[in-house]
């Protein structure tokens, strides 16, 4: 037990740094570690060496819980054996000196010994005790379930972790952003990010595809929580395997679930609909462009690249403001909903840098070989409302803001082994409660013949748990034996 206490204390201590330092692989902010390292260039490498950015995957953290699990197993197995033996065996005989035990009472009786023993045994059995009688003794014990609960708790904790481990070893996590009207096929190549586990069966991904038909958001338009979202709903048309297309509305807490592959709606933003014409007047780009939100009012930034525009490649960069307003700091978004959507764009011509074949992020512009488009000596910058067009000087091309659509961000998880985990969790809870609430104790009754032909009755109780057993158990037993009150002599309670 002492080992367990020390290891538990260590485990608690070891978990602390992970909450104070940013962690890799923690969902809330993937860039947190990088930012921290930039702000603390001196200590960050040292912290990294100590595993402070990977606490829960570090070997020292693993060492603690592995030792804990080992010591737990080493403790639980022998105890299970002992429990098994004690369940099969009978309650032990009464100790010689019952007077030292708690609740010790003695009295004289004229009743037949057989009768007293039968009555006491019947009473205790009715109260749920396991009872064994001899000629002069009643031995009773109850609360075996406490130990059963204790062991069930510890064993199910192991199973619980194995269940989660199964999920982790065979499952995966992924992420994908889909604009309204866009499609997704459940194939590795379609994910924005995909994190498999050691034994993920990537060949066996659920054959599944969907189209984001519509994404609805509503916001509180009045009251103290103005601008707080009240509803997110993504309407998907999906097809699983060769089944017919079905529609489903995915909301927070209501994922699309196809055979344990789940698509959770975890984020959203705007994808303005944009059409670009090049210098020849050809439409060289038309469709939604995902703009990444910057703040809670969904001011977003994004980039449009048009590498196949002729005679020169075109690029646009800027902000999307769903409810554009002008403040002292310049344009900003006053509300997250698209009440007055505007695009603020600047334009570039030249070489987007695609030629060398190096992959680019679709969210940033490589401006090395680009020239900002200027007009009257000033960089060309224009605010567009829906339907408006920004024309580049010299007929180099134009961009039209056709409308507003939204994109939804889906967190994808495949996590098998859920049933094991759930069953284990239930057993764990029941076992824990039983092990803490049930009070295991023994009650003995002993008869000794007295000189006047009657019997001296002794009863006492022994608690095997810290919590005190029910206080009136002995009194009830005595009442059942019709103890004449006046002849009773209650001995003083044994000290704790």
């Amino acid at each position: 037990m002492r080992t367990a206490v020390i290891l538990l204390a260590l485990l608690a201590l070891a978990a602390i740094p992970g909450s104070l330092f940013p962690q890799r692989n923690v969902a809330s902010d993937p860039a947190a570690v990088i930012n921290y390292a930039r702000e603390n260039p001196r200590i960050a490498p040292w912290l990294d060496r100590l595993g402070m950015f990977d606490v829960y995957a570090s070997s020292w953290f693993a060492a603690i819980y592995v030792l804990l699990l080992v010591s737990m197993t080493g403790c639980v197995l022998p105890r299970s054996r002992r429990l098994w033996q004690s369940v099969r065996g009978a309650p032990p005989p009464a100790p010689r000196n019952l007077g030292r035990l708690e609740g010790h009472r003695t009295w004289d009786t004229k009743q037949e010994p057989v009768e007293v023993i039968a009555t006491a045994a019947a009473h205790l059995r009715r109260k749920g005790f396991r009872v064994v009688t001899t000629g002069e003794e009643v031995r009773a014990e109850r609360g075996y379930l406490r130990e059963v609960g204790n062991l069930a708790f510890h064993l199910s904790l192991l199973v619980f972790l194995v269940g989660i481990a199964a999920g982790r070893l065979f499952g995966f996590e992924g992420r994908v952003a889909v604009a309204e009207g866009g499609t997704f096929a459940n194939d590795l190549s379609q994910y924005d990010a995909f994190t498999p586990s050691a034994w993920t069966d990537v060949d066996g991904l659920e054959p599944l595809s969907f189209r984001l038909e519509e994404f609805d958001v509503s916001y509180q338009t009045s009251g103290p929580n103005l601008g707080q979202p009240t509803e997110f709903a993504a309407r998907l048309a999906y097809r699983a395997g060769s089944a017919q297309e079905k529609t489903i509305t995915v909301e927070p807490n209501h994922p699309l679930d196809v055979n344990e592959t789940k698509f959770f709606l975890t984020g959203n933003g705007y994808a303005p609909l944009i059409t670009v014409r090049d210098g020849r007047g050809e439409v060289v780009f038309t469709g939604p462009v995902i703009f990444l939100p910057l703040d809670s009012s969904f001011a977003s930034d994004g980039v449009v690249k048009v590498p196949d525009a002729q005679p020169t490649q075109l690029a646009f960069e800027g902000f999307f403001l769903p409810t554009a307003d002008i403040g002292p700091q310049g344009p900003y978004s006053a509300f997250p909903d698209a009440l007055n959507p505007q695009l603020f764009l600047t334009a570039y011509t030249g070489d987007l840098g695609f030629g060398d074949g190096v992959p680019q992020s679709v969210f940033t512009l490589d401006k090395d070989q680009l020239t900002q488009v200027r007009q009257n000596g000033q960089p060309l910058s224009q605010a567009l409302s829906v339907g408006e067009t920004m024309r580049l000087p010299g007929g180099q091309g134009s961009l039209t803001f056709d409308g507003v659509s939204r994109f939804a961000n889906f967190q994808v998880a495949y996590d098998p082994g859920k049933e094991i985990t759930l069953v284990a969790a239930v057993v764990l809870m029941v076992g824990l409660t039983a092990s803490l609430v049930i009070r295991r104790r023994r009650v003995w009754l002993r008869l000794r013949p007295t000189e006047d032909g009657g019997s001296l009755v002794e009863v006492a109780r022994y608690s095997l748990t810290r919590r005190e057993p029910p206080p009136d158990e002995i009194e009830n037993l005595m009442a059942a034996l019709h103890r004449p009150d006046r002849s009773a002599t209650a001995s003083k309670d044994a000290p704790a």
């Binding site: 367990a4 485990l11 005190e468």
Partner: protein, 334 residues
Amino acid sequence: MMFDAQTFAQLSNGLVYSAIAVYALALLAYAAETAGRVATTGTVGADSQARSRLVGAATIGAGSPDRSRLADAAPVVDDPPSRSRQLGAVGTSLTVLAFGLNLGGVVTRGLAAGRAPWGNMYEFVLVCALTAAAAYLAFLSRRPVRAFGVWIVAIVLLALGLAVTVLYTPAGDLVPVLDSYWLVIHVAAAITAGGVFTVGAVATALFLVRHRQERRGTAQEPRGRYAASLPTTRTLEQVAHTAHIFAFPIWTFAVIAGAIWAENSWGRYWGWDPKETWAFITWVCYAAHLHAQATAGWRGVRASWFALAGYAAFLFNFFGVNLWITGLHSYAGV
């Protein structure tokens, strides 16, 4: 409808402020009672006659049904000064009244928002204060723990004061991700456990105080009047133990329910988000406490420190993590 959401919200605020006022009065009464009890309690070598009054007020006041417990509440009980006893009774009555107002504040808040009233920090503290008071009153009905009153009410008052000044959020809808029945279950369990842990922590702290003074004096005659005025270490330990074994499974359930909610919302049970981490630390501390209680050499004082560490982790998880550390839970209001 006679009452609309706005009316309920105002009513809730009014009830909460009334509860604070009445809790404050209860605190005064309890403080006066404690002062009276301490003043009339003998200290080692000071007054051999007064030492017979050690746990009088608490034991008699609670009307414990168990005679054997009276017997172990040594030393021998004497009638405490009636004024102190009356003050204690006044304190308890006021606490019950304040509890009622607090409950009313929570219920009307729920009616105003049209959902379970624990969706943000303000509401969480409101309900946590309520469960702490409830747990105290529940213990008081069966154990001689009126000496806790002054501390519990002080904590409740502090929590409510923080709630109305720093954490206040007007009643309103939840952000969609919090709209889940697992949230209701998860937070309800966490709150219940928190309230009972509070009683456990007070009992543990008082146990440590009394134990320390007993070692400097004797078990019957601890050093220091305040320690001497407390219930016996045995009673304190039992109350703490009962509180902990009641709250620990509930906390376990809260953690599991939270994991299920997380899976429903984000697709993973556990992600070492700071909130999750501190819930885990809390759980591990209390687990260590329970193991230590069953370990020779650790039982009692050493084990108590684990329980206090667990309570500290619980508090930090709520205040520290919500206010200083950002994570996925940081949208939970404030």
